[in-house]
């Protein structure tokens, strides 16, 4: 079995006496065969975490276990881990076949004909069988990407590590490889740790996602958990495209009071906010209704500022009519609906869809209410 456990893993760099912490006390358990996506903005420590698992960086503190034995102090050569790099890192002087055979030749004492047949099999699976005798420079970016994946797969390792493997592909190919990579990972059922800065990749590919910011794990959960029940304001803002709207508010007299509006709350919601005054209210763009049902207390007169048509939907930027700070709120509406800049609309913010965060700590105090039945695991 190969579950991968990160137990209080910390990495710091000494910079002339100063200690710069890159990864702070990360605890993650990745089950056997699970696809975990490590996501966060650049410089958040996600690549460093991956490189510590690979053994390319030393661990300053904590333990990394594969199955039940610690690999923290093992060199990368013996960890039985394969990694796909962002630059693919193919050996330029070797043919595709040699690139794929190299790992097996170095790490096993498999006979040559078995290596040959395994490479051929993997190449067939990856659709690169006809490229086996070419050198990397004769391949397109997408083909090189497949070779890099094939080189990792042929090793049949305990763990796959992927460091933004799709970020050098064009958008169309990236979407295609995303699906293919998921299918391959499911077929092979190998524990996978995947690093990306792209929240779409995180949402669509991961069994679970771990969100990292500034070296700290913010939340580990299924994509839908992170989307609907973010642990804090960072996660709420990072996951989802376009981002969640945030409005600074104060709690006063059972209502949230912002610059341009007052938002009365129900008893249930109020109970969650007990003891906190400075708050941020968050609402996802798709949850705001334009010209919604007459619900005077949660409807606000607004003006359409900008409309971004996406085809299937429109991103509409609204400003509150009497708002001096000109804060905009983004709303997504169906692409068939006609909305023009300058138009006056009533925006309704339904109470069951709001998230409330503490302004100081960013911690989520209240998350949207969900009809649980909607959020069960998808039927496969």
């Amino acid at each position: 079995m190969a579950e991968l456990t990160l137990d209080g893993v910390t990495k710091w760099f000494d910079d002339g006496g100063d200690r710069i912490v890159a990864v702070d006390d990360a605890d993650v358990e990745i089950e056997d065969g699970e696809f975990l996506v490590l996501v966060g903005p650049s410089g958040c420590g996600k690549s460093t975490t991956l490189r510590m698992v690979a053994g390319l960086e030393t661990v300053s503190q904590g333990d990394i276990r594969l199955g039940d034995h610690s690999i923290t102090d093992e060199p990368p050569t013996t960890r039985d881990i394969a990694m796909v790099f962002q630059s693919y890192a193919l050996y330029p002087h070797m043919t595709v076949r040699e690139n794929m055979s190299f790992g097996l030749e170095e790490s096993t004492d498999m006979p040559d004909d078995e290596i040959r047949s395994r490479v051929a099999e993997t190449a067939e699976m990856m659709g690169i069988a006809d490229l086996l005798d070419r050198k990397p420079r004769e391949l397109s970016g997408g083909q090189q990407q497949r070779v890099a994946l094939g080189r990792a797969i042929v090793r049949d390792p305990e763990v796959f590590l992927m460091d933004e493997p799709l970020s050098n592909l064009d958008a169309k190919l990236r979407a295609q490889m995303r699906t293919e990579l998921q299918r391959i990972q499911e077929d092979l059922d190998v524990t996978t740790m995947y690093v990306t800065h792209d929240q779409t990749e995180a949402m669509t590919m991961g069994d679970r996602i771990a969100i990292l910011d500034d070296g700290r794990l913010q939340q580990v959960g299924t994509p839908l958990e992170c989307y609907h029940e973010p642990a804090n304001q960072f996660v709420a803002g990072f996951i989802g495209e376009p981002s969640m709207n945030f409005l600074d508010v104060e709690l006063a007299g059972g209502s949230l009071v912002g610059d341009a509006f007052e938002y009365p709350l129900s008893e249930e919601t109020l109970a969650d906010l007990e003891g906190h005054d400075s708050l941020v209210v968050g609402i996802r763009p798709e949850d705001i209704e334009l010209d919604g049902a007459a619900d005077a207390s949660h409807s606000y007169p607004t003006t359409v500022d900008v409309v971004e048509p996406m085809g299937n939907e429109n991103n509409v930027y609204l400003t509150f009519d009497d708002d001096a700070s000109a804060q905009t709120v983004v709303v997504t509406v169906s692409g068939m609906r006609k909305v023009d800049a300058g138009q006056q609309v009533a925006a309704r913010i339904p109470e069951e869809a709001i998230h409330v965060f503490d302004r100081e700590t960013g911690r989520a105090l209240h998350n949207r209410t969900l009809d649980r039945a909607e959020v069960t695991e998808p039927n496969v």
Partner: protein
């Protein structure tokens, strides 16, 4: 709608004229460029051409004609070449015995040292890199006396006396061995620096991928780094071969006086011109004979050399 009419407008006419004028101007500058280039080629090749012509002339013809004119009729002779080959033959052999191993060793050791100090990370490597770099700046003249003292103390000829009895071995090979050691030691800093700059341009991820593929430090060198070093090997091999082949100073200092049986071609060439009667045709032929191997090396490794320099 008032769109401009299709077809050539007055504006595009003048543009065509301007282009034609530019082409004529370009022709003129091109002619001037080739003239200058031609003059430069002539300037640089003239001494070489004069030398080559002289090498084919009898002494008599040389005295009576301008050096760069070709020999005519009975003024033509191959005798200088025959003499030069005969006189320099031993020196050519010695120089080959010296330059080939010394070149290969200094390039190979420089490459290994650069790999160990660049691609592999370990503590305290910078002081060692600094030592290598410092080696480049030690002038030849500063080490001459210590060198001759060193080889006076370390008498390789008697230390390796068991070897000289073997077939194909000669006693004077001990002096060549001394020269090889000296040239290798003196060549490593520069080859190290060239390889280091080259290895620094390698993708770090590629080396890391090899590590994760289970390759040991030695295996990474043999399977990844060494095969990718070909262009830089061409550069260092040509550079070192030329340096060592053309060296006279070390040979004069390290070899027993007069060079003896171990004299490399540079020393032999020096002796060739040392006669009382100056026979310029033999000297010129000798110079060409001595320079021939470096030319061959350039031709053989030229393409790789260009690649290495470009990187």
């Amino acid at each position: 709608m008032s769109s401009p009419p299709a077809g050539p407008t007055p504006e595009s006419n003048t543009r065509r004229e301007r282009l034609a004028r530019a082409a004529r101007n370009a022709d003129r500058t091109r002619i001037a460029l080739y003239a200058v280039l031609g003059a430069l080629v002539g300037f640089y090749l003239a001494p070489l051409e004069a030398g080559l012509m002289t090498a084919f002339k009898t002494t008599d013809a040389f005295n009576r004609s301008v050096p760069f004119l070709p020999p005519i009729a009975e003024g033509f002779t191959l005798e200088p070449w025959r003499v030069a080959f005969r006189e320099l033959w031993n020196g050519l052999i010695n120089s080959l015995l010296l330059a080939v191993p010394a070149t290969v060793l200094s390039a190979g050791l420089g490459s290994i040292a650069a790999y160990g100090l660049t691609t592999i990370d370990w503590k305290y490597q910078m002081p060692i890199v600094a030592l290598f770099v410092a080696g480049i700046f030690i002038p030849y003249q500063a080490v001459l006396v210590p060198l001759s003292r060193l080889f006076a103390i370390v008498d390789t000829q008697s230390l390796l006396s068991v070897l000289w009895g073997l077939p194909l071995m000669e006693e004077h090979y001990a002096s060549i061995l001394n020269l090889i050691v000296t040239h290798v030691a003196y060549g490593i800093p520069i080859t190290f620096l060239l390889f280091r700059a080259y290895y620094q341009s390698f993708s770090n991820e590629m080396i890391e991928a090899a590590k994760l593929d289970g390759a040991s430090v030695f295996s990474i060198y043999r399977n990844i780094v060494l095969p990718l070093s070909k262009p830089m090997f061409a550069v260092t091999l040509i550079y070192q071969f030329t340096q060592i082949w053309n060296d006279l100073l070390f040979a004069l200092v390290i070899l027993p006086s007069g060079g003896g049986a171990a004299a490399p071609v540079t020393v032999a060439l020096n002796a060739l011109s040392g006669g009382i009667v100056q026979s310029f045709n033999t000297q010129m032929a000798g110079a060409f004979v001595a320079a021939l191997p470096t030319l061959i090396v350039y031709v053989l490794f030229g393409e790789q050399f260009a690649k290495g320099v470009a990187s």
